[in-house]
């Protein structure tokens, strides 16, 4: 039982003091403070002064298992997620081997992996994520997959992407596209522009992203099938979100997510070849970064997703061009969103939380998640909205420390993360 807290459940339209009773992994009852009958033996969490909200959902993480446990494991990645307030994550398939089979999917979902919270596997759209031969989406879905993507790579060929969209729609799966025309990004390691020129680095032009988004939207339009759902992963350019905005106006089922680093940082953060500012898509120009904020504020963006991409320290301690792409994000997302979207840019708290829970759940159709209405999963985040703290990457739960946010001030401290009724994380200070 969680008592004395302030419940914000955007999907249910609740923003009021409430007590909550969790039972058998689900939400059993919600009532005004003091109205719930105490139950013998039930654990009671006193949430006085704290905010209670649906557990956060990250629909774009790399948990690195199978195959790359030295970077992160499902156990450490989900522990980091729980510490960051997340109760569900969707795991990208660029593992070793690529998750393009029910065997890998089942292996990831096995209890032996030690997941602290719910993991939803996303499968590769094509065999080996090679962009050629479609996988068996129906079989993958029955094994527990919630979407398909070749993330890390785009599905470049028009014919393959069209087939992927159509086949996924038939079985009710979303298609997530890593929008990058790799023909424009050969050898590139940051955003194209004056900064890349000065640093002597090859650049990825914004058009490499936006042209694929435009192509994909054209394919969705041509398919004339309301079941088709295209989700644009880690949108980073003004042109890409403008396309999504237009597609939505045209009534298409096209959604997108933005990562915190893309609404906070620019290519200037590469500084003197800081490999913790290297990711794909890259940090962009200030105008693109501003367009991400605008798109978040005006509702075009459906979800904040971290693209949590852990790497071992030694992998990032190399020449910038040789360093792998990606940064961690699970333990900083809430603190950054509250500090910047809510406090600095005055986005209502409920809307910020919705972008981190209700809306991502809706994007992937995760039933019973992202809300705390009676009957839904007992996935709860209890946090202190007033707490400010300094993030120290080395104190995190993730195996990896590759983040540009080390030492940053965060707002909102996670006090309890409850996953299906079990406490997955707690911090008592």
């Amino acid at each position: 039982m969680i008592r004395n807290g302030h419940l914000i459940d955007p999907a249910a339209g609740v923003d009021a003091p409430k007590d909550i009773l969790l039972k058998d992994g689900h939400v059993a009852e919600i009532a005004a403070p003091g109205k719930l009958k105490p139950i013998d033996g039930a654990e009671v969490i006193d949430a006085a002064g704290l905010t209670v909200t649906p557990g956060l959902i990250d629909i774009h993480v790399h948990l690195r298992e199978p195959g790359q446990g030295y970077k992160e494991t499902i156990a450490t990645g989900t522990a980091a997620a729980a510490a960051g307030g997340f109760t569900a994550v969707a795991a990208m398939p660029n593992t070793v081997p690529v998750n393009d089979s029910i065997e890998v999917t089942r292996w990831m979902l096995a209890p032996e992996r030690g997941a602290a919270i719910r993991v939803y596997p996303i499968a590769a759209a094509t065999r080996g994520s090679k962009g050629e031969i479609l996988n068996d989406f129906a079989a993958l879905k029955s094994a527990g997959v919630v979407a398909v993507t070749d993330d890390g790579y785009p599905i470049l060929k028009d014919s393959v992407m069209r087939e992927t969209l159509a086949a996924a729609a038939r079985v009710g799966l979303s298609v997530i596209q890593h929008a990058e025309d790799t023909r424009m990004t050969t050898g590139a390691s940051m955003n194209a522009g004056p900064v890349a020129f000065k640093l002597g680095l090859r650049g990825m032009p914004p058009e490499a992203e936006s042209s694929i988004v435009e192509r994909d939207i054209r394919l969705v339009t041509e398919l004339h099938d309301a079941r088709v759902h295209l989700h644009v992963a880690h949108a980073s350019t003004a042109a890409a979100v403008a396309s999504v905005r237009q597609a939505r106006r045209n009534g298409l089922r096209v959604t997108c997510e933005v990562a915190p680093h893309h609404f906070l940082l620019t290519e200037e953060s590469v500084g003197q070849y800081d490999t913790n500012a290297k990711m794909n898509p890259p940090l962009r120009a200030a105008a693109d970064r501003d367009a991400m904020i605008e798109a978040i504020l005006d509702g075009v963006v459906d979800a904040i997703a971290t693209d949590h991409a852990p790497h071992a320290t030694h992998e990032k301690e190399v020449e910038f061009e040789h360093a792998p792409n990606g940064i961690t994000g699970l333990e900083t997302a809430l603190g950054l969103c509250l500090r910047w979207l809510h406090k600095e840019w005055k986005m209502p708290l409920g809307r910020v939380l919705s972008l981190l829970s209700a809306q991502p759940a809706a994007v992937l159709g995760l039933k019973g998640r992202g809300t705390l209405i009676v009957g839904s999963f007992a996935d709860v985040l209890v946090f202190d909205p007033k707490a400010e703290w300094t993030y120290r990457a080395h104190q995190g739960r993730s195996k990896a420390h590759n983040t540009p946010f080390d030492g940053w001030t965060m707002h909102g401290k996670v006090r309890w993360t409850i996953s299906e009724g079990r406490v997955a994380y707690t911090s008592q200070n």
């Binding site: 640093l199 680095l201 940082l265 953060s269 605008e294 020449e319 910038f320 910047w340 840019w345 005055k346």
Partner: protein, 340 residues
């Protein structure tokens, strides 16, 4: 973004970009941007003083000090002149090149740098095919690092020796430089600017002394945004027009090894941008011709121009030894040779 967008209205504040992870070692030379004009003057003066000094006295300056040359790319001029420079100051040098070392076996730059430091290296001269590699090496070893060319990024000693050459021709070898030393001088850099670390270092250094830098080349090798790299940089795609204004012209080699699949019509390139005797005679009959080498005769310039009276190409090579003596000295004797 238009003025009525919510973002513009709200006057957003953003987190400050983290400050540089360094101060670097005072003796390092990673970028020409790290040098004050005082530093430049000092290096130029020491280059001349060391060049003029009795070799038997000179080799006591860094007697038995250990300097490592770490080369991930082939090099003739830079490697040899750094080596000769260090040796003529009395230092012991050792060369590690990527093709005859454990780098071939997969040893990282970090581990190679730490190994050299453990072997007693007091400074490392690094040539690397990845832009920014010297920053990494400096970060992990905390030794003075001299950038002998990093990827497409910078080649600071080349810019300094080019400056010395230009000063010898246009300013009678002046050594004390200021913001106006090269006022009224136009230097045109021609060719493969995009892939050139020599171009970047020069375009960032020469305008600080008052020079105007004109970049000249086709779009594929010279993007428009190059003009934004710093003040005093302009783009002129017509070679004749650029030449006519120039007191110095710096020809660059087309870097086939960095073209990354780019298709370039070399015949057309020669028509538009090859420095021929006729072009030089009609457009810039008194300009000094520079080239960082290696030159490809018959491509970016004709053999006649390379060997002609306006060519300062071999002078540049000689200046390379003098400049590198000064920066190696500065690396190991920061109090005497370093910045004030």
């Amino acid at each position: 973004m238009n003025a009525t967008s919510p973002v513009a209205r709200r006057q957003l504040h953003f987190p400050a970009v983290a400050a540089s992870r360094f101060p670097y070692h005072r003796g390092s030379l990673l970028s020409v941007q790290d040098l004050t004009l005082e530093d430049v003057s000092h290096i130029l003066a020491r280059a001349t003083a060391l060049e003029d000094q009795d070799p038997l006295m000179r080799d006591r300056i860094l007697a038995k000090r250990r300097v490592a040359l770490l080369f991930y790319e082939s090099s003739t001029r830079t490697r040899t002149s750094f080596e000769l420079a260090a040796k003529s100051l009395g230092a012991d040098t050792t060369l590690v090149s990527s093709l005859s070392s454990s780098i071939e076996k997969g040893e990282t730059l970090k581990d190679t740098g730490l190994t050299l430091r453990a072997l007693g290296a007091e400074a490392i001269i690094l040539r690397h095919n990845a832009s920014g590699a010297p920053w990494l090496l400096e970060d992990v070893t905390r030794l003075p690092v001299l950038n002998a060319g990093d990827g497409m990024h910078e080649h600071p000693t080349q810019a300094l020796l080019d400056l010395r050459t230009i000063l010898a021709h246009l300013r009678t070898g002046s050594e004390s430089v200021s913001e106006t030393t090269l006022a009224g001088v136009t230097v045109t850099i021609v060719g493969d600017i995009l892939h050139s670390r020599v171009a970047r270092s020069n375009m960032l250094l020469l305008p600080r002394l008052g020079a105007q830098v004109i970049l000249c080349g086709p779009k594929e090798l010279l993007p428009d945004l190059a003009a934004n790299a710093g003040p005093g940089i302009a783009i002129e795609r017509n070679f004749e027009v650029a030449l006519r204004q120039s007191q110095a012209v710096m020809m660059l080699r087309i870097q086939a090894e960095r073209l990354a699949g780019m298709q370039l019509d070399l015949e057309q390139y020669k028509v538009d941008y090859q420095l021929t005797g006729l072009r030089l005679e009609t457009q810039a009959p008194t300009a000094v011709v520079l080239h960082p080498g290696p030159i490809i005769r018959g491509l970016e310039l004709t053999a006649g121009v390379a060997d002609g009276t306006q060519s300062a190409i071999l002078e540049q090579v000689r200046n390379g030894v003098a400049i590198r003596m000064a920066v190696v000295e500065r690396a190991l004797l920061p109090r005497e040779g370093g910045r004030a």
